[in-house]
């Protein structure tokens, strides 16, 4: 992989060139702004939005829903995943239901959630939690089950109790999997919240996007896409930061976290 200040400059130049090409194409083909706006009009829409303080409350709403959904979904996912990983009986009875839910596109449930829980915060949080739930649950199960046979034998040879084996071996051993799951779950929670907002909401970036769609403000929509992408990066970055602190011992920590994620093929 190329490194160093020269390659970095080249990388920036490459992105600038792409933006330039985009700008040029829009002018050259006289593309109407309600189909594809030029990068300059997106930047202008963004500037206007920031200047008129349009985004702040909506970002706050979306981030709040995402974080609450993330916490609720991950707490439940960790608990259920642990129970399933430790008890073959529970796994036997829950497995078909888990498989069915996993195969189902979770966002398809969002309209139902809106019917049941209304247009307010609750429905958004539940939607975010539902989408965030599965990647973490699956990774918790895989992680807790991945403890090396020799290490389990070592613990057993020391007369360790089942709880000690869980606490001293299985749980720390599962942490790389759990953090990989948390990183995915954070992005998924954002998706869940946005989808619920798009369908029906009183505030949030999804709702803002939807209202811009009605007024054909495509440049505004692009500006929100940009904000969402930055939000996703920040939220994901927070989890990565915590992971680096907790998993200082994990030699694979800088490898692609997704590799450890068992739910790579997850259907949204």
């Amino acid at each position: 992989m190329p490194r160093g200040p020269v390659s970095f400059t080249l990388r920036l130049l490459f992105i600038a060139a792409l933006l330039g090409l985009w700008e040029w194409a829009v002018i050259f083909f006289q593309t109407p702004a309600y189909i594809v706006p030029a990068p300059s009009s997106i930047a202008y829409a963004m500037y206007n939005g920031i200047a008129s303080n349009l985004y702040v409350s909506h970002i706050g709403a979306t981030v709040g829903e995402t974080l609450l959904g993330f916490i609720a979904g991950c707490t439940l996912a960790f608990m259920l995943g642990t129970v399933v990983a430790l008890s073959r009986t529970v796994e036997y009875y829950l497995y078909p239901i888990i498989i069915m839910f996993q195969a189902m596109p979770k966002v398809a449930l969002v309209p139902l959630i809106l019917v049941w829980f209304g247009l307010g915060l609750t429905s958004k949080v539940i939607s975010a939690a539902l989408v965030a739930f599965f990647p973490l649950m699956v990774n918790t199960i895989v992680g807790l089950r991945s403890a090396d046979e020799d290490r389990i034998n070592l613990m057993r040879s020391l007369s360790a109790s089942r709880w000690q084996i869980f606490r001293m071996l299985q749980l720390p051993n599962a942490m790389p999997y759990i953090f990989a799951g948390l990183e995915i779950a954070m992005i998924f929670a954002l998706i869940g919240a946005i989808v619920a907002e798009l369908i029906s909401s009183e505030k949030g970036l999804g709702m803002l996007m939807q209202s811009m769609s009605f007024t054909m403000d495509v440049a505004g929509q692009f500006s929100i896409l940009f904000i969402l992408s930055v939000l996703g990066l920040i939220l994901n970055g927070i989890v990565t930061l915590v992971r680096r602190q907790v998993l200082f011992w994990d030699t694979s920590r800088d490898a692609d976290a997704n590799e450890q994620n068992a739910t790579k093929g997850e259907v949204l």
Binding site: D150, N153, W249
Partner: protein, 273 residues
Amino acid sequence: MDAKVETAAGQTPHASARDVISVRRLSLKYGRGATGVLALSDISFKVADGEFIAVVGPSGCGKSTLLKILAGLLPQTEGEAGLKGTPIKGPRRDIGVVFQSPVLFPWRSVLGNVMLPADVQGLDQTEMKKRALDLINLVGLDGFENRYPRELSGGMQQRVGIVRALIHDPAILLMDEPFGALDAMTRETMNVELQRIWMERRKTVLFITHSTAEAVFLADRVIVMTPRPGKIGDEFTVDLPRPRKLEVMNTEGFGAYVKRVRAALNPGGGGLD
């Protein structure tokens, strides 16, 4: 440090506790009925207090299975296995096991790994920590106690694995090919080191290996096992003075013992090692 005195502190000494390990007519079958595989067949031997026994044999001779039974990790199909006069009914706290790989926990420091048995068994932290540091010094890892396993070489990791098995002061040390994964040079160094530790601490050791030279070099007594099904092919005392140096391997006496192991492994007389 006298193993017997220490034993008395934690465990009631048995009247006939001279034999620390006693195995009688032990058999183990994996699976049931006609499809079952007989891994161990009619194994009998005894190990005296403070004795260093090597069990040598090729892969598949059931030597690791034997160790698992003694560690209480696997119940035997037939026969009796006892430690210090009481039958084995599961894992016990008066044994230490060293596995083929170091089996360290990457999230624990060297000190933390050595302390693992003390943590599991709820032993006194201050006292055990002092002991752990002494043991870490004993194997020449002083200064490494706060390092993590990934920062250590294979030989250093296995040293941690060995002193971890000693931290709770077990009377019996069971070692399952502990140096099998190391390169030949490191392995020889570790053999000398293990002899030194053993002469200092005088534990009863059952050492499993597939290296004839390692077995003869280390042991007071060698048990040779032959495969399919795992049986004792030969058993003899190694009468070489201690401490043994690596040069002993070049002597005629050493060669004769190695030959004897080979003869037991190849009763037909043909073939190499």
